[in-house]
Protein backbone atom coordinates (compact mmCIF):
# COMPACT_ATOMS: atom_id res chain seq x y z
CA UNK A 1 0.00 0.00 0.00
CA UNK A 2 1.30 3.40 -0.97
CA UNK A 3 0.14 6.91 -0.31
CA UNK A 4 -1.01 8.83 -3.35
CA UNK A 5 -2.45 12.18 -4.15
CA UNK A 6 -4.72 12.70 -7.11
CA UNK A 7 -5.56 16.07 -8.59
CA UNK A 8 -8.24 16.25 -11.27
CA UNK A 9 -9.46 19.15 -13.39
CA UNK A 10 -13.06 18.64 -14.49
CA UNK A 11 -14.78 20.63 -17.22
CA UNK A 12 -16.46 23.81 -15.92
CA UNK A 13 -19.73 22.85 -17.66
CA UNK A 14 -20.51 20.27 -14.93
CA UNK A 15 -23.31 21.25 -12.58
CA UNK A 16 -22.87 21.20 -8.82
CA UNK A 17 -24.45 17.76 -8.57
CA UNK A 18 -22.55 16.32 -11.53
CA UNK A 19 -19.34 17.51 -9.94
CA UNK A 20 -20.16 15.67 -6.72
CA UNK A 21 -21.18 12.53 -8.62
CA UNK A 22 -17.87 12.56 -10.50
CA UNK A 23 -15.94 12.97 -7.24
CA UNK A 24 -17.81 10.06 -5.70
CA UNK A 25 -17.19 7.92 -8.75
CA UNK A 26 -13.42 8.11 -8.42
CA UNK A 27 -13.44 7.89 -4.63
CA UNK A 28 -15.55 4.75 -4.93
CA UNK A 29 -13.16 3.32 -7.48
CA UNK A 30 -10.30 3.66 -4.99
CA UNK A 31 -12.28 2.01 -2.21
CA UNK A 32 -13.47 -0.81 -4.48
CA UNK A 33 -9.89 -1.60 -5.37
CA UNK A 34 -9.00 -2.09 -1.73
CA UNK A 35 -7.72 1.41 -0.97
CA UNK A 36 -8.97 4.02 1.43
CA UNK A 37 -9.57 7.74 1.07
CA UNK A 38 -7.56 9.84 3.53
CA UNK A 39 -8.76 13.30 2.58
CA UNK A 40 -10.78 15.04 -0.08
CA UNK A 41 -10.66 18.67 -1.01
CA UNK A 42 -12.74 20.25 -3.75
CA UNK A 43 -11.25 23.59 -4.74
CA UNK A 44 -14.17 24.34 -7.04
CA UNK A 45 -14.08 26.67 -10.02
CA UNK A 46 -10.68 28.17 -10.66
CA UNK A 47 -9.14 30.03 -13.58
CA UNK A 48 -6.59 28.03 -15.56
CA UNK A 49 -3.16 29.52 -16.20
CA UNK A 50 -3.58 28.70 -19.89
CA UNK A 51 -6.53 27.33 -21.90
CA UNK A 52 -7.04 23.55 -21.97
CA UNK A 53 -9.40 22.24 -24.67
CA UNK A 54 -10.43 25.87 -25.30
CA UNK A 55 -11.64 26.24 -21.70
CA UNK A 56 -10.31 28.98 -19.47
CA UNK A 57 -11.70 27.69 -16.16
CA UNK A 58 -11.83 24.30 -14.51
CA UNK A 59 -13.22 22.52 -11.47
CA UNK A 60 -10.34 21.38 -9.29
CA UNK A 61 -10.52 18.43 -6.96
CA UNK A 62 -7.74 16.96 -4.80
CA UNK A 63 -7.89 13.56 -3.12
CA UNK A 64 -5.37 11.90 -0.85
CA UNK A 65 -5.63 8.15 -0.57
CA UNK A 66 -3.83 4.90 0.04
CA UNK A 67 -3.95 2.18 -2.57
CA UNK A 68 -2.10 -0.81 -3.91
CA UNK A 69 0.21 0.07 -6.80
CA UNK A 70 -1.53 -2.45 -9.08
CA UNK A 71 -4.87 -0.67 -8.77
CA UNK A 72 -3.45 2.62 -10.05
CA UNK A 73 -3.53 1.46 -13.64
CA UNK A 74 -7.27 0.82 -13.40
CA UNK A 75 -7.84 4.26 -11.92
CA UNK A 76 -5.80 5.88 -14.66
CA UNK A 77 -7.81 4.14 -17.40
CA UNK A 78 -11.05 5.41 -15.87
CA UNK A 79 -9.67 8.94 -15.61
CA UNK A 80 -8.58 8.97 -19.24
CA UNK A 81 -11.85 7.46 -20.38
CA UNK A 82 -14.00 10.02 -18.60
CA UNK A 83 -14.82 12.92 -20.90
CA UNK A 84 -15.51 15.34 -18.08
CA UNK A 85 -11.87 15.10 -16.94
CA UNK A 86 -9.69 17.73 -18.61
CA UNK A 87 -6.50 16.63 -16.90
CA UNK A 88 -5.33 14.61 -13.94
CA UNK A 89 -2.13 14.20 -11.97
CA UNK A 90 -1.34 11.34 -9.66
CA UNK A 91 1.57 11.75 -7.27
CA UNK A 92 3.10 9.19 -4.98
CA UNK A 93 3.67 10.74 -1.56
CA UNK A 94 6.76 10.03 0.50
CA UNK A 95 6.69 10.13 4.29
CA UNK A 96 7.59 13.83 4.38
CA UNK A 97 4.74 14.66 2.04
CA UNK A 98 2.26 12.73 4.18
CA UNK A 99 3.50 14.58 7.25
CA UNK A 100 3.23 17.91 5.41
CA UNK A 101 -0.34 17.22 4.31
CA UNK A 102 -1.36 16.12 7.81
CA UNK A 103 0.09 19.31 9.26
CA UNK A 104 -1.66 21.44 6.69
CA UNK A 105 -5.00 19.80 7.44
CA UNK A 106 -4.72 20.31 11.18
CA UNK A 107 -3.57 23.88 10.73
CA UNK A 108 -0.17 23.35 12.36
CA UNK A 109 2.59 25.46 10.87
CA UNK A 110 4.29 23.67 8.00
CA UNK A 111 7.44 25.76 7.94
CA UNK A 112 6.33 27.42 4.72
CA UNK A 113 5.30 30.54 6.63
CA UNK A 114 8.82 31.24 7.80
CA UNK A 115 10.15 30.79 4.32
CA UNK A 116 7.54 33.08 2.84
CA UNK A 117 8.88 35.92 4.95
CA UNK A 118 12.52 35.49 3.98
Amino acid sequence: MNNYELMVIFTPVLSEDDFKVAQKKFAKLVVDNGGSVVAENAWGLKALAYPIQKKTTGLYWVMEFTAAPESMERLKIQLLRDESVLRHLCTKLDKYAVEYNARKKSGVKTGNEKMMES
Binding site: A49, R87, L89, Y96, E99, S118
Partner: protein
Protein backbone atom coordinates in the same frame (compact mmCIF):
# COMPACT_ATOMS: atom_id res chain seq x y z
CA UNK B 1 51.80 64.61 1.55
CA UNK B 2 53.27 61.34 2.77
CA UNK B 3 55.30 59.52 0.17
CA UNK B 4 54.34 55.98 1.14
CA UNK B 5 50.61 56.57 0.64
CA UNK B 6 49.15 53.93 -1.67
CA UNK B 7 46.70 55.04 -4.32
CA UNK B 8 44.34 52.66 -6.14
CA UNK B 9 42.95 53.20 -9.61
CA UNK B 10 39.63 51.64 -8.63
CA UNK B 11 37.98 51.72 -5.25
CA UNK B 12 38.66 48.59 -3.21
CA UNK B 13 35.67 46.51 -2.26
CA UNK B 14 34.97 46.92 1.41
CA UNK B 15 31.47 45.41 1.79
CA UNK B 16 31.56 41.71 2.58
CA UNK B 17 29.36 39.46 0.49
CA UNK B 18 26.52 37.80 2.34
CA UNK B 19 26.87 34.03 2.25
CA UNK B 20 23.99 32.34 0.45
CA UNK B 21 22.16 29.49 2.13
CA UNK B 22 19.61 26.85 1.29
CA UNK B 23 16.28 27.96 2.70
CA UNK B 24 14.94 24.40 2.81
CA UNK B 25 17.82 23.17 4.92
CA UNK B 26 17.70 26.16 7.24
CA UNK B 27 13.99 25.81 7.99
CA UNK B 28 13.94 22.02 7.92
CA UNK B 29 11.46 21.58 5.09
CA UNK B 30 11.54 18.15 3.51
CA UNK B 31 8.72 18.40 0.99
CA UNK B 32 7.96 20.94 -1.72
CA UNK B 33 4.24 21.24 -2.36
CA UNK B 34 3.24 21.74 -5.99
CA UNK B 35 -0.17 23.08 -4.93
CA UNK B 36 1.25 26.08 -3.08
CA UNK B 37 1.64 28.48 -5.99
CA UNK B 38 2.50 31.59 -4.01
CA UNK B 39 5.37 29.69 -2.45
CA UNK B 40 6.69 28.40 -5.78
CA UNK B 41 6.54 31.88 -7.26
CA UNK B 42 9.46 32.83 -5.02
CA UNK B 43 11.67 30.64 -7.18
CA UNK B 44 10.47 32.00 -10.53
CA UNK B 45 11.28 35.14 -12.47
CA UNK B 46 8.78 37.45 -14.14
CA UNK B 47 8.56 35.24 -17.18
CA UNK B 48 7.69 32.20 -15.07
CA UNK B 49 11.10 30.62 -15.57
CA UNK B 50 12.90 28.85 -12.77
CA UNK B 51 15.63 30.88 -11.09
CA UNK B 52 19.10 29.32 -11.14
CA UNK B 53 20.72 27.95 -8.02
CA UNK B 54 23.26 30.73 -8.05
CA UNK B 55 20.46 33.20 -7.35
CA UNK B 56 18.12 31.18 -5.14
CA UNK B 57 20.90 29.57 -3.10
CA UNK B 58 19.08 26.22 -2.94
CA UNK B 59 21.06 23.05 -2.48
CA UNK B 60 20.97 20.67 -5.43
CA UNK B 61 18.64 18.25 -3.67
CA UNK B 62 15.98 20.88 -3.06
CA UNK B 63 16.48 22.70 -6.35
CA UNK B 64 15.49 19.44 -8.03
CA UNK B 65 12.42 19.14 -5.83
CA UNK B 66 11.43 22.74 -6.55
CA UNK B 67 11.89 22.14 -10.26
CA UNK B 68 9.71 19.01 -10.12
CA UNK B 69 7.03 20.86 -8.17
CA UNK B 70 7.00 23.76 -10.64
CA UNK B 71 6.67 21.36 -13.55
CA UNK B 72 3.77 19.59 -11.89
CA UNK B 73 2.06 22.90 -11.21
CA UNK B 74 2.50 23.85 -14.86
CA UNK B 75 0.95 20.60 -16.04
CA UNK B 76 -2.08 21.22 -13.87
CA UNK B 77 -2.45 24.80 -15.19
CA UNK B 78 -1.69 26.29 -11.77
CA UNK B 79 1.34 28.09 -13.21
CA UNK B 80 1.75 29.24 -16.82
CA UNK B 81 4.41 27.79 -19.11
CA UNK B 82 5.12 31.15 -20.74
CA UNK B 83 4.05 34.56 -19.59
CA UNK B 84 5.03 38.14 -18.97
CA UNK B 85 4.66 39.94 -15.68
CA UNK B 86 3.98 36.92 -13.49
CA UNK B 87 4.32 38.92 -10.29
Amino acid sequence: MAKNEIKYLTAIKTDKRVKKFCRFKKYGMRYVDYKDIEFLKKFLNDQGKLLPRRLSGNSLKYQRKVSDAVKKARQMALLPYVTDLLK
